[in-house]
């Protein structure tokens, strides 16, 4: 018996290695240091093109929204484009767009990041500007109110006006019991309404400080010159004595199934979500879960699309995603029903696909296709300076180590057929899911 399975094993290995040769990328040999005030500096010099990206990643996200201020971290991100002691409102646009570059920012559960791409002869100016808004943000009532109105409008557009806006909200709200991830990044209209200018000043003081930030610079620069600019503009910002408040809540493992029906107006076709807790982003099982996700829902040749959309014609779309976070994140199946089909049918089919991938190994060609898709995507994301900096920033926040950027590709490629089956058995069972039915609220009685 043992002999046969060994031969089988070798055969499978050969088959896999035939369809999937190893893709290697030269490591990003970044330099890392810490300023005396605690700020983390990661720089990677690449002089092949005279452009550079400057990114500041603050270790604060919507999970840190103050009590009764859900949506505040995101609102605050908007305020960061307003005036500082020495800068006019929207000056970032002028300093980037007018010289051929661009800038933006984003807020998620775990992090808020600010980034610019500019021709490299403008690098010092942007270091100056980012240091300015870290240390000298000023905010007046008028700017605050106008920006709050912009965010509330964003809420109306993305949540209220979108017939599935409340579906995606409910996935996050219903999936966490204890952890602040149960609140959404966009927040609520009421909480945004009660926010005040002193809240802004307080939030800035609490989280926007050098020992809670990482500066990432990738592209064309002279290392010595860059280091001296960083020391000059960021090094002199003082570190407050207070401690930075951290999220301490731990989401408990689930012990029984929870079922919810969410009603919303104007839902054209019902939708279903089945959610599970994911291990934290730095867990060694994440790569295998990502490969499983690609096999289940990467493109039109994936299992869910072929089965639910094409064969059974139960759903218009069906997917399975892994939403990794610093703490335990989420994995969820979703399906938007085809006309005339019921949520029960979609739930049954989705769970049948789950059982299938738990009970039988995926094929070698499925594995190879999934890896190719993920690897090609990751390699493409490394083409630009800002792409590299984003990968480094995510690695810092999610994994706690910028060097994860150099190991991810290898980890994905090392995933085996057995790994996929093992993780799908480990994290998914009948007692740890939340099932959400999202249906039309026909209170008008048609």
């Amino acid at each position: 018996m043992q002999k046969i399975s060994a031969i089988l094993f070798i055969f499978v290995v050969l088959l896999v290695s035939q369809t999937f040769a190893q893709v290697k990328v030269a490591p990003i040999n970044f330099k890392e240091r810490k300023l005396a005030n605690g700020m983390r500096i990661v720089t990677y010099q690449d002089n092949s093109s005279p452009s550079v990206t400057i990114q500041v990643w603050y270790d604060v996200g919507s999970k840190n929204d103050p009590l009764k201020r859900n949506g505040f971290a995101h609102l605050f991100e908007h305020i960061m484009f307003k005036s500082t002691k020495n800068m006019k409102s929207e000056q970032f646009d002028r300093m980037t767009e007018d010289v051929g570059g661009w800038n933006n920012a984003s807020t998620s559960d775990d992090v808020t990041n600010y980034y610019e791409v500019v021709p490299s002869n403008h690098l010092e100016r942007l270091i100056w500007a980012e240091a300015e808004r870290m240390s000298n943000l000023t905010v007046d009532e008028a700017n605050f109110k106008s920006e709050r109105a912009v965010v509330q409008e964003e809420f109306r557009q993305s949540v209220l006006a979108n017939p599935y806006g409340q579906f995606y909200e409910s996935i996050q709200k219903e999936s966490f019991n204890v952890h602040p991830y149960k609140r959404t990044t966009i927040g609520t209209l009421e909480d945004l309404d009660s926010a005040t200018v002193p809240d802004v000043q307080n939030f800035h003081k609490t989280y926007y400080r050098p020992d809670n930030a990482s500066l990432i610079v990738v592209g064309d620069f002279d290392q010595k010159q860059l280091d001296s600019w960083i020391d000059k503009y960021f090094g002199k910002i003082t570190k407050p004595n207070s401690t930075i408040p951290r999220v301490t809540e731990v989401e408990p493992e689930r012990t029984k199934e929870k079922r919810v029906t969410v009603k919303a107006p104007n839902v054209p076709l019902p939708a279903v979500a089945i959610t599970y807790l994911a291990p934290p982003a730095k867990d060694k099982d994440i790569p295998a879960l990502q490969v499983a996700s690609a096999i289940l829902s990467g493109g039109e040749s994936s299992r869910l699309y072929k089965e639910l959309v094409r064969n059974q014609q139960i759903a218009q779309d069906a997917s399975f995603g892994v939403d990794t976070k610093t703490d335990k994140g989420l994995m969820y199946f979703t399906a938007t029903l085809a006309s005339g089909k019921t949520p029960e049918m979609a739930e049954k089919s989705l769970l049948a696909e789950l059982k299938k991938i738990q009970n039988a190994p995926v094929t070698a060609s499925e594995l190879a296709k999934a890896k190719n898709g993920i690897v090609a995507g990751k390699v493409r994301s490394l083409e630009t300076n800002d792409g590299k900096a984003f990968q480094i920033g995510s690695a810092i926040i999610l994994v706690g180590d910028p060097n994860a950027v150099n190991t991810e590709l290898g980890e994905i490629q090392a995933v085996t057929i057995a790994d996929v089956q093992r993780v799908m058995k480990k994290y998914f069972n009948d007692n740890n899911r939340v099932v959400i039915y999202y249906v039309n609220d026909d209170k008008e009685g048609k």
Partner: protein, 569 residues
């Protein structure tokens, strides 16, 4: 704090040179030009097969043929159905697309270097062995016709359509999309013939950018493309665009539109024109960005709009100049005044030293950022080679921008912008626009959204006319993201006033403050939308007693105007 260095931003350094190496170039015996740009930084490659034929080479009576051929290349071959082909590409984590523009047609692919041979094989599969299956052609026709119908509800399409017609006349650049009949009339045989005649090696070039070994890959390309047979490159003759002699105003009527989409346009220049660089700099100063003159004046100072811009679209044979903005209807005339002010100013006065330098900083700064990805670099090389620009075009690009002088800016402004002979195209409420804009033009024409000419005299004042009879139930349809959404109005008329009820999928509501002025109706609808009361303004025009056309404009920021049309029951 006494940190003086925080008070003002540090100065920028001198621009840093950008070296783009010359790619390797060769030509196969069948005339296929091959350009290889080795770049081994990441294990990926980009392939682009580009042909010097496009939509303008479709026969006049079959506009849209080139696009149909390109779109269907990936929808079925001798060895794969469209689904199987998509799956083959997915397996590699690669991409493969084909498309046509007015001048050119391209097949684009990208993949991990590991799969360069596989992606090349799939590329040649769609190039040499497409079958243009009947069922896929029918699906393509259905989708294209849906798209044609949908675009008539989009103000910017209506503006583009009229602008092209007026500027280019019967030149093929004058037609921006085929008719429904032309799409319906396409046959499989026509596609096969066009593909055979046009997709020939001696009118094509292949650009390879990425992680390849030049000699090794060249050998592979030779094998794959070596047997490809030459064809005849037909020289096409096209009518010349009309010569403009006066200022014209063309309005596309959307009754009750809250916005006017304004375009001012005249003929521009071909892509190979030696004035290309001075024009680029001049246009940057005039209107290309958010710090350019048009934006600073019409948006920042006057606040008429979210944005006002100008652009040159320079193609193989000729091109156009356009200045555009979407403004509130009430400031249509005021906006035209500012447009003319800026178009004249850039001709009459020399630009400032600082403005010139700002424009150069932007154009030289953005260039390397555009070239950062394989895709971006491929785009630049493709344009260079398709338009047969000089060999050192990319290497000297920034120098040529820096060499432009204040005098040249003024010269090209006078050569390529002609306010006294410009075409003004405005999509919006014709009656309102006419009042505000007619003094800016020597002649006026008005069209409906189907492109049918209307009687201009009808749009002069409607005073003294009897109010139309609108009493009763109306069934109309709103164009919403390509779908037709049914809506019912129940109207109760009393002389020139009316009230009523509104019913739709968005909710039900009351119509109030309705007024009738001749054939024009105006009113306010209050709808309960997810617990919020939303106000929608109703504007319409009653045509031949029982049909109506108009616009529902939700008074909520970010929501678009919703054109509707329908009949009395």
């Amino acid at each position: 704090m006494t940190e003086q260095f925080r008070k003002t931003p540090p100065a920028s350094l001198a621009p840093i040179p950008f070296h783009i190496p010359q790619p390797f170039e060769t030509e196969l015996e069948n005339g296929l030009k091959i350009i290889i740009f080795e770049n081994k930084r990441l294990p990926i490659i980009n392939l682009r097969l580009a042909f010097r034929f496009g939509e303008i080479n479709s026969p006049k009576e079959w506009r849209g043929l080139a696009s149909a051929v390109s779109s269907l290349l990936t929808q079925g071959t001798e060895n794969y159905s469209s689904k199987e082909l998509a799956e083959e590409v997915e397996k590699l984590g690669a991409s493969l697309h084909a498309s046509s523009s007015s001048d050119n047609s391209t097949i684009s692919a990208s993949a991990l270097t590991l799969y360069r041979s596989e992606i090349l094989r799939l590329m040649t599969e769609i190039l040499f062995k497409p079958t243009f299956p009947e069922n896929e052609l029918n699906l393509y026709k259905q989708n294209t016709i849906k798209g044609l119908e949908f675009q008539r509800s989009q103000a910017d399409f209506l503006a583009d359509e009229q602008t092209a017609r007026i500027i280019f006349g019967s030149h093929p650049y004058g037609t921006v999309s085929p008719t429904k009949e032309q799409v319906e009339g396409l046959s499989r045989e026509m596609l096969i013939d066009f593909h055979r005649q046009k997709m020939i090696p001696n009118n094509a070039l292949l650009i390879v950018v990425g992680d390849v070994d030049k000699d090794e890959f060249l050998a592979e390309l030779n094998q794959v493309f070596g047997e490809w047979k030459r064809g005849n490159v037909e020289k096409s003759e096209f009518p010349t665009p009309p010569i403009r002699t006066q200022k014209t105003l063309t309005i596309v009527d959307r009754v009750g539109s809250a916005q006017s989409n304004i375009v001012l346009s005249n003929l521009g220049m071909e892509r190979t024109n030696p004035d290309y660089f001075p024009v680029l700099v001049m246009n940057q100063i005039l209107g290309a960005g958010a710090s350019s003159r048009l934006f600073m004046n019409i948006r920042e100072e006057k606040g008429y709009t979210y944005g006002a811009y100008s652009s040159f679209d320079s193609r193989r044979l000729t091109g156009s100049f356009e200045a555009t903005a979407e403004v509130r209807t009430a400031v249509t005339g005021d906006s035209l005044k500012e447009f003319f002010y800026e178009l004249n100013r850039i001709r009459d006065e020399k630009v400032g030293e600082n403005e010139l330098q700002d424009a150069k900083n932007f154009l030289t700064g953005v260039f390397p950022i555009r070239a950062e990805t394989q895709e971006g670099l491929t785009n630049l090389i493709v344009a260079q080679k398709l338009y047969q620009l000089p060999d050192d075009y990319l290497q000297t690009y920034r120098d040529k921008i820096n060499a432009v002088t204040i005098e040249e800016v003024q010269r090209v402004a006078n050569t390529y912008i002609h306010p006294d002979k410009i075409a003004i195209i405005i999509v919006g409420d014709a009656e309102e626009i006419l009042k505000q804009a007619k003094t800016y033009a020597d002649s006026i024409e008005i069209f409906d959204t189907d492109g049918k000419p209307l009687d201009v005299t009808k749009y002069e004042s409607q005073e003294g006319q009897l109010p139309a009879n609108i009493n009763g139930k109306w069934e109309v349809f709103i164009e919403l993201q390509g779908q037709q959404m049914p809506v019912t109005f129940e109207l109760n008329q009393a002389d020139s006033a009316f009230t009523g009820n509104f019913e739709s999928l968005l909710g039900i509501g009351k119509i109030t403050e309705g007024t009738i002025n001749g054939s024009k109706i105006k009113g306010k609808i209050l709808v309960d939308f997810q617990g919020q009361e939303v106000e929608i303004s109703l504007n319409g025009n009653v045509e031949n007693e029982n049909s109506i056309k108009g616009i529902l404009a939700p008074q909520m920021e970010g929501l678009p105007d919703l054109p509707f049309s329908g009949n009395k029951q």
